[in-house]
Amino acid sequence: MTVPYLIGAFILVSSLFLNRNKKLSYFLVAVFLIMQWIFTVYEYQHKNIEEFGYFVPNAIGLLLLITISIISIPAFYHSFIYFTKHNDSDKSRSIYLAAMVLLIAALSLAYLSNHIGLMWVFVELTTFSASALIYHRRNLRSLEGTWKYIFVCSISITFVFIGILFLSIAVQEVGHANLTYTALLSKATELNTFWLRLAFIFIFTGYTAKLSLVPMFTAGIDAKDKAPSPAGALLSSVLLNIGFLGIFRFYEIIAQTSLLLWTNHIILIASVSSIFIATVYMVKVKNIKRMFAYSSMEHMGIVMLGIVAGGVGYYAAILHLIFHSFVKAGLFFQMGQIYRIFGSKSIYDVGNYFKYNITGAMVVLLAFISATAMPPSGMFISEFMVFRSLFESHYIIVLIFVLMLLTIIIWAFGKNMFKLLFSPPVNFVEENIEKIKPIESLSQFILFGLVIYLGINPPQEMIDLINEAVKNLPL
């Protein structure tokens, strides 16, 4: 059903883009959400059946597809709230909604792509739609963020393409012209390691722009900061997942060859330095939204560490990725409310949140517990499993170093969050603050509750899917 979905999504995107009527826009979005869910359920029931030669709904793709379908509902709901509070022109609203639908559709299809080139095309589409979302506010700063995002993502997407070219040289040498992941996986052992090595370096560097990892992390941080909160939630959760998937799919191929150890070292260096840089900035940063973005970077570092460590780490990495998507999306949705009360993202201008919005403050507190991976959050379980796998695979020094950095991160995160929650803000006029309806926080509670529930009591289907997703990796 991928091609009908693709056609349907493009029709919806173009009609959203052309239509200026508010009610009709929301109706079209509702149609898209229904279509997204029908698509998800259909693909889940047709697992591992190839469609149109280029799409295979395999386990990891399905997991991420279900994640994006869950997050897309609150994302549109909070966009709706965003538009009722801001007086955007009809044109900019149309562009925003069209870009968001395009982003979700491109990501969903990229998750299911079985062809390395096709996935790359959809990733390019996400760059395009994400930049329209970042530029939504149309001011100088968002222009800067958009420019940097487009530029860095263009360079990295070119890097991925160069990687694909090197890979195609290796594939041609064994007398093939098929670049689907299934074919590559079956031919992996025959491929020339020199080209494979070059291909991995380029593809890894390219996808780190989406994954928010060293070396290409910079643009993503600005993007998440400048985009409106509901869009930031998507950029900071499901968009990271596509970067992970791009690397993970190629890692599966590499894992069959003798390059596995070398690859692990590269990923290890990238992820530990990401966690290190995230720590440095989390201590220093004064903008809450950017702090959340750096926290994403730290979690992606942990996910990649799980992949490096192997064993139970593979399972934990994917679990952590999914939980992180829910938690970070909830955190960004909440950020929209904080901004509406204080009119600022700076830590100096906010405070006493418990007094102004008690439901929202509960969300922030819960989000802090979830995002720093404390029990009962499900992220505690996945993070603990990553550390166990690091211990078991004898990366003791790395483990100690990362644990120290994480302690600093929890301190920095907590310092800012408790400032936001309890200490009174300076020079803040209390009179005209907006009363925020508790119902607007419901989606965040559901997302965090989902993480807790899935952590404590994961359904058997999810366990099976994750185990199936990592079955190609060596133990």
Binding site: G117, W120, Y135, K148, I155, T158, L165
Partner: protein
């Protein structure tokens, strides 16, 4: 014959490192477009005619004519100063670009591959790294765009090397080129050019921690 063309291309990269004016950058880009046109004409002769026309149109119409004219128009329109404003002196640039080329030569010697033409590999990789160097060492945002176009030329050369057997890759490379160039240049001309006159990266340094 293609070897001569590709070596000329490498020489144009060295010239780029010491060029001072923005207009010479534009001229070099147009010249590189011509070189790419000639080498793809020779190299891809066995390709089917429709694909070949597409490739040739891309190199001649897009890379040689449209993009340079567009850059020229942008420079004139916004009254950019004529200097490229590098951070480093030209002499240092020359040394760096030369050493990039030498290193890629040495790297290509490691390849034990008979099928691949090494000159393509060297030209493509040097073009990639020189493009990155230009982006890193020049002040103006328009020179960043030009550095990116040089990277794209490198990608095009690399896709020529695998082109005859996988025309799909050449075509998708071209589409990437068109798509990103339009996106970058579109944003550049429409937005940044309107908001900021004589754009310099220092004006885009507000987002930081």
């Amino acid at each position: 014959m293609t070897n001569v063309l590709l070596i000329t291309y490498l020489m144009s990269l060295i010239y780029l490192s010491i060029a001072n004016r923005l207009m010479s950058y534009v001229q070099i880009l147009a010249f590189q477009g011509l070189l790419l046109f000639a080498s793809s004409f020779i190299e891809l002769a066995e390709m089917n005619p429709i694909n070949l026309t597409f490739v040739l149109l891309e190199t001649i119409v897009f890379k040689t004519i449209a993009v340079p004219l567009f850059l020229r128009y942008t420079i004139k329109q916004n009254n950019f100063s004529r200097e490229a404003e590098p951070y480093l002196p030209n002499f240092v640039s020359l040394i760096i670009v030369t050493s990039i080329i030498v290193i890629t030569f040495l790297l290509s010697n490691m390849i034990e591959d008979i099928k691949l033409n090494k000159v393509y590999f060297v030209t493509a990789l040097s073009s990639l790294f020189v493009g990155l160097y230009i982006i890193g060492s020049r002040k103006k945002i328009i020179t960043h765009v030009m550095g990116f176009l040089i990277i794209e030329n490198g990608v095009f050369i690399l896709s020529l090397a695998v082109g005859n057997e996988m025309p799909m890759l050449v075509n998708s490379g071209i589409l990437l080129d068109l798509f990103i160039s339009v996106l970058l240049l579109g944003v550049f001309l429409n937005k940044i050019g309107d908001v900021l006159k004589d754009v310099d990266v220092n004006q885009l340094r507000n987002l930081k921690d």
